[in-house]
């Protein structure tokens, strides 16, 4: 395997006495889409949030294209975060600016792109998620699915090397989930490296290159989706999957 785009090495995270992550090791190759599944409280979201240091790891290393994000200074961290796009469960669009301004803000302030260029790029990304016609709308006037697609466009506009998805469809009405998954599928097909925490098992099965099952702060099992879903080896994986399917 060539150098992975995202590599998590011996990652540990504690909140006080509570050990949430114990020795996580994970590699995501360039262009690979890795799904992380597991029961709530298993540490999946915490692991994902360590990848751009929204959570500060207790120990371990996280390499983005070979550079460690854990040890770096705060200014280097801001630069590295440009390479790691993140999509949240709750969208977190800025309610005081319209859609295109949402997508432009970090391009201008963090990436220092000229305004015209940022706008052009923002419109192109909105086009990609099918929302160019809503560019001048305020976020609160969009449906949840549309808001999440804008959030994806906002992350993509910074030309990240990796995209992190933290339960991107969990807050959506069922009929809106499909539009977000379609954007994610399109993103994968274009070669984006993606690490996804999600409960969308059907989508994982169809689109993921690899599925990682986490429980109790550990990676219990990983493999291609066919194997994890059809023939899970670990007992905990089997138990979890049977609960989810039931």
């Amino acid at each position: 395997m060539s150098r992975p785009m995202l590599e998590i090495v011996a990652l540990e995270k504690s909140f006080g006495d509570l050990k949430v992550l114990r020795d996580i090791n994970l590699r995501v190759a360039t262009g690979e889409m890795v799904f992380v599944i597991g029961p709530s409280g298993s540490g999946k979201s915490t692991m994902l949030r360590c990848c751009n240091r929204l959570e500060e790891p207790t120990s371990g290393a996280i390499l983005i294209d070979g550079k460690d994000i854990v040890g770096c200074s705060s200014s280097a961290l801001n630069r590295m975060r440009l390479e790691v796009g993140m999509v949240f469960q709750g969208f977190h669009l800025y309610p005081h600016m319209n859609v295109v301004a949402n997508v432009m803000l970090a391009q201008i302030k963090a990436l220092k792109r000229p305004k015209d260029e940022a706008r052009e790029r923002a419109l192109a990304m909105l086009d990609r998620v099918g929302l160019r016609h809503r560019a001048e709308t305020m976020p609160t006037q969009l449906s949840g699915g549309q808001q999440q697609r804008v959030a994806i466009a906002r992350a993509l506009a910074l030309d990240p090397k990796v995209m992190l998805f933290d339960e991107p469809t969990s807050a959506l009405d069922p009929e809106l989930v499909g539009s977000v998954l379609a954007v994610m599928k399109d993103l994968k097909d274009s070669g984006m490296t993606m690490l996804v925490v999600s409960h969308e098992m059907g989508f994982a099965r169809e689109a993921a290159d690899r599925v990682v099952f986490m429980d109790g702060g550990l990676v219990v099992e990983e493999g291609p989706p066919e194997q994890i879903f059809a023939n899970p080896k670990a007992e905990r994986t089997q138990a979890f999957l049977s609960r989810v399917r039931a």
Binding site: R79, R81, G85, F88, H92, Y94, A110, T140, L158
Partner: protein, 226 residues
């Protein structure tokens, strides 16, 4: 003289109105620029302190909180009297208008800091995370994302406080600053009539009512469409 006449000559004596109109206009002007200075000082200092507090430096925050609590606990009149009549004892004479601006501006800053801070703390954590995750620094996230949302939440209580404290420029009358009330009460003691006080009340309404209306319009404009 029947009751109505008596009422009118006591409160609305036209001769007295005419005589003191020039003084009153000067008083109105003084009140306006004093209030403007108090608002400018109070809001900018309050905003600055609330932003500083967001950085979470323990020592700085200790002083900011002390400042805000003292500023809100002390009646402004006490501070005004201490500075105006006390400091000359140390050989430091502060002119009346400056005392008024410093004290009222500081008191407004204490309230404004708390109001802005309350606004900042009610901006959801996810907003900060979204900003930081896209490579914005703390200050950029504060200025671009948190503050505009905090300001919107802070606007109604802030407006009330600004109005309440601007009106306290009337306290200038106890330290010889010739603002509206000062002019009115001087005229009242010369004429022995309550008419100058009525005139002062009308002047306050003329000065502050447009401000109230303006802030209403501002509030409506500031609310983003939901």
């Amino acid at each position: 003289m029947d009751g109505l006449d008596r009422f009118l000559t006591t409160f609305f004596n036209a001769r007295i109105f005419a005589r003191y109109l020039p003084d009153m206009l000067a008083g109105v002007w003084t009140t306006i620029w004093l209030a403007a200075a108090v608002i400018a000082l109070g809001l900018s200092l309050g905003l600055l302190l609330a932003c500083l507090r967001a950085y979470g430096w323990r020592l700085a925050n200790f002083f900011i909180i002390c400042f805000a609590d003292m500023g809100r606990a002390l009646p402004p009149l006490v501070l005004i009297l201490i500075i105006y009549f006390g400091l000359p004892g140390l050989g430091l004479r502060v002119p009346g208008p400056l005392v008024l601006i410093l004290v009222l501006g500081t008191v407004l800053a204490a309230f404004a800091e708390e109001i802005f801070w309350a606004g900042l703390t009610s901006v959801p954590k996810g907003q900060w995370e979204a900003g930081r995750a896209t490579g914005l620094g703390f200050t950029q996230t504060l200025v671009q994302i948190a503050l505009p949302q905090a300001a919107r939440l802070a606007l109604p209580p802030l407006v009330n406080r600004v109005l309440a404290i601007s009106k306290m420029t009337a306290l200038g009358s106890v330290i010889g600053v010739s603002e509206i009330l000062s002019v009115a009460s001087t005229a009242q003691s010369f004429t022995g009539s309550a008419a100058p006080l009525t005139m002062g009340a009308i002047a306050y309404v003329i000065v502050f009512l447009p401000l109230v209306v303006l802030t209403r319009l501002l509030e409506r404009r500031f609310a983003w469409k939901v």
